[in-house]
Symmetry: C3
Subunit: 361 residues, 3 copies
Amino acid sequence: MNFLHNSWYCVGWSLNHGDGPVGIKLLNRELVLFRRSDGTIACIDGICPHRFAPLSRGEVCNDVIQCGYHGLEFDGEGRCVRNPHGSGTIAPNAHLNSYPVVEKSGAIWVWMGGKGAADPAEIPEFDFVHDRKNWAGATGYLKIDANYQLLIDNLLDLTHATYIHANTVGVGTDKWEGETRIDYDFSASGKVINSDYIWRNSPPTPLLREFSERSAGDIHVPMRLYLASSLILNIAMCDRGAPPETGDQMPSAHLLAPETENTTHYFYAIARDDKLDDAEITARMIKLVEQAFVDEDAPMIEDIAEIMDNREFFAMRPLILETDKAAIHARRTLAKLIRNELDNTASPTDGAAQKKVEESA
Amino acid sequence: MNFLHNSWYCVGWSLNHGDGPVGIKLLNRELVLFRRSDGTIACIDGICPHRFAPLSRGEVCNDVIQCGYHGLEFDGEGRCVRNPHGSGTIAPNAHLNSYPVVEKSGAIWVWMGGKGAADPAEIPEFDFVHDRKNWAGATGYLKIDANYQLLIDNLLDLTHATYIHANTVGVGTDKWEGETRIDYDFSASGKVINSDYIWRNSPPTPLLREFSERSAGDIHVPMRLYLASSLILNIAMCDRGAPPETGDQMPSAHLLAPETENTTHYFYAIARDDKLDDAEITARMIKLVEQAFVDEDAPMIEDIAEIMDNREFFAMRPLILETDKAAIHARRTLAKLIRNELDNTASPTDGAAQKKVEESA
Amino acid sequence: MNFLHNSWYCVGWSLNHGDGPVGIKLLNRELVLFRRSDGTIACIDGICPHRFAPLSRGEVCNDVIQCGYHGLEFDGEGRCVRNPHGSGTIAPNAHLNSYPVVEKSGAIWVWMGGKGAADPAEIPEFDFVHDRKNWAGATGYLKIDANYQLLIDNLLDLTHATYIHANTVGVGTDKWEGETRIDYDFSASGKVINSDYIWRNSPPTPLLREFSERSAGDIHVPMRLYLASSLILNIAMCDRGAPPETGDQMPSAHLLAPETENTTHYFYAIARDDKLDDAEITARMIKLVEQAFVDEDAPMIEDIAEIMDNREFFAMRPLILETDKAAIHARRTLAKLIRNELDNTASPTDGAAQKKVEESA
């Protein structure tokens, strides 16, 4: 399995999480989450050890989840706290694993690696989902039938927007010349990879046109990957040559959680810093974003996954273009992190994490 | 394959079987059944030896089934009796296997083991399906995407009714104390396993409330498994401490026929001994039973089958509770019977059957 | 894989092919076809070498197909002619294979074998699809979930029409006696196999009744297979004993293109030589043909494919009837041709083709 366990994965948006149990498969493992009366969220193994029933079919009461099949009860640490049958004995193998959970940036994050290595500071910080005073926007979810790395590839190489997203989130031309050009910058540091575009002297994308009044300018498109698979994109449209902070802001989040080798949870959010009270703009924005992800990206990426048919990417000898730099770097870094994790010999890309992995080893 | 061949399996309800051919896959083998003019039912291999067409797509005429593809004809003993083409030669490999069939207790039963071992006395005897003078009720059918043993597990441990069937066939409480308690008795003899509950001083289940006027009493719930996979449950609700025959009777049949390792035919029947003329009660009862099986049991059991993903039950190291006694005994006995059958060294659980298995060996 | 590459396969009807790209999987390989401005059709590999996107999701402009994901452009010979990114470098592994394409007999034909062996003269010649002055009729397409050889079996042994197509394209009796009889002739020469029936003194089929006024006569049913998998059937209904050219003509084409081992493209056409202006007859004819193929043949053949479950036909020890002669000969000839192709030692069935295979080897 090609997964990095020592990483935070988004498993849902905070505001969508009520009190009931929510099941999710992550890195090929069934989990169940539920909110406790103190407001914190618990995450434990999602399968009852008795008859392998999914605990998400159970009920939560008094910070305890009861299996919906034969009534065994588990607390948020995974301890079996009640067997309602016979003498009520609870055997040592009745207990389940629990997993660190953090709510941050409006999302719920789970860590499936060594518990000692779980540092919430590694979770990307952004305010545009939960801060509705300064941002208007929406969140969404999509299940994609493809390996998560195909989605990272997609997001780190936004040149595809020109061809596939001309009517939604792209500008639809690849004839850049003279003053109208693409500036590109790639950089990487530890577990963060930047793939930054500036579309110079560009018309706005259909999505930007929904609230920006600029008919032309520089569009800053800095995609940032926090490995394993969380991406933040702080788009800004500004006057030609002006710094991005002076422009119309349109940040978005693209939080990928591998479900299995061939399926991925895609939690996304979009926001804007202008015309905050206009709900119709928000509705049209989310509609354009859904069109881009559901109707444009997903079918293409799922076709590719079907064509690849579980073959390894590099083994298929892809034609590598200059624009693949960030995506290839991400694949190689991720492969190295996964190898290290499997070898149990920690040599991650930054010192702090190394120490934590060693502790957990 | 984890099947017991020397066993009778229900393949349908008598009243639903007209004259035309009916195909069914049983123990991973395609069969076809059709009724002859003398009223008996024939069961032969369901695949034409010529071009492997399913004979259930054919037609029956004069006690002979004609293949719907190229017209070969077979009698109820599987003999090819006509080749309509060319010189009409019938080669020795044109003939098919036939299987013993018995109609008993309102159902059709097939035996796929050694023919000499087929003793109809082993078929469970009950009258509540075909005797509509003394019983009102209905029959049903459900295909379940799970190994049949997961259904036996479900039926032998009725403590699950409390959690999953509170609104249909369970009473919905696991807080038994004092006079209100569960008495349980497990016993086994040869190929019969009993898992008997008495819910003392209990309210009626929603299903019993449909015709019983008792608002409280003892509910006798004696589940009986006839190995491999036929179960009869003679529920009776009576006054506290009274013997079950004095109460309201609500018998049911749960006849499981393994289709493949991962799919099961579930033929069920429910009946009552009171208010026989009230068709509305019957309609509401069958609706509650369908809800219990289709909406409550099936999704849970199919989820479990998906989670088990063809892994062997004991190899998954389940947490075994006291209430698993009957189900575990059934699994172990079944495994032993199957092993014996495979070893071709007959050591079944009763003398009469042993003789027959030896004859057939 | 059980495919003959040195063969022409129909991949569509000419009149249905516009200018846009059309993807088709043939012999387990993804292809894309598009029409050039000079009217010819190009066929190249259907998967972009960069990120494995299906080129059929792209767009055609100026005789070039542009990948819909990141914009690489390919001409009709498969050459990558533009990389719109960065320095625009085109690496040697950016190019794709192209395949010979011919339009003939109203259909589009592709050759996936050695290019030197591609001789359009081997494509069956018929005029009843494109010559609408002399013929009325229609074309159709069906995807079948079965190996293509099961469809060849079906078409070479038309005795099945009696049983499965009594209400559409068969006459529905197998009681032939005296003057009412079937004459049959089998012959083979090189890559052509003939399975010729004459139904003597027969009523018309429901399909013939749509335009023929004969209430009885001889129905000539000469099925001709052009290996690998193109079949032409020139049905004629005439007066008893008269030669076929004097009768009502009803030719049909059955052009099979293996998509994968388990799925087949079925391009079919039907025509008549009488009452050419009556569009209602044409509509009723195509409806009967669809009924025969979609409702009668396809479910039977797909059931058989499921029953065979990828097992090899002869390994299943089928009962072989006299009427299987042509189909068995076709399977054996095809197996030999495929073996020869794999051995790379050319010994095909005619000298001209042999030379070409050697050239391509």
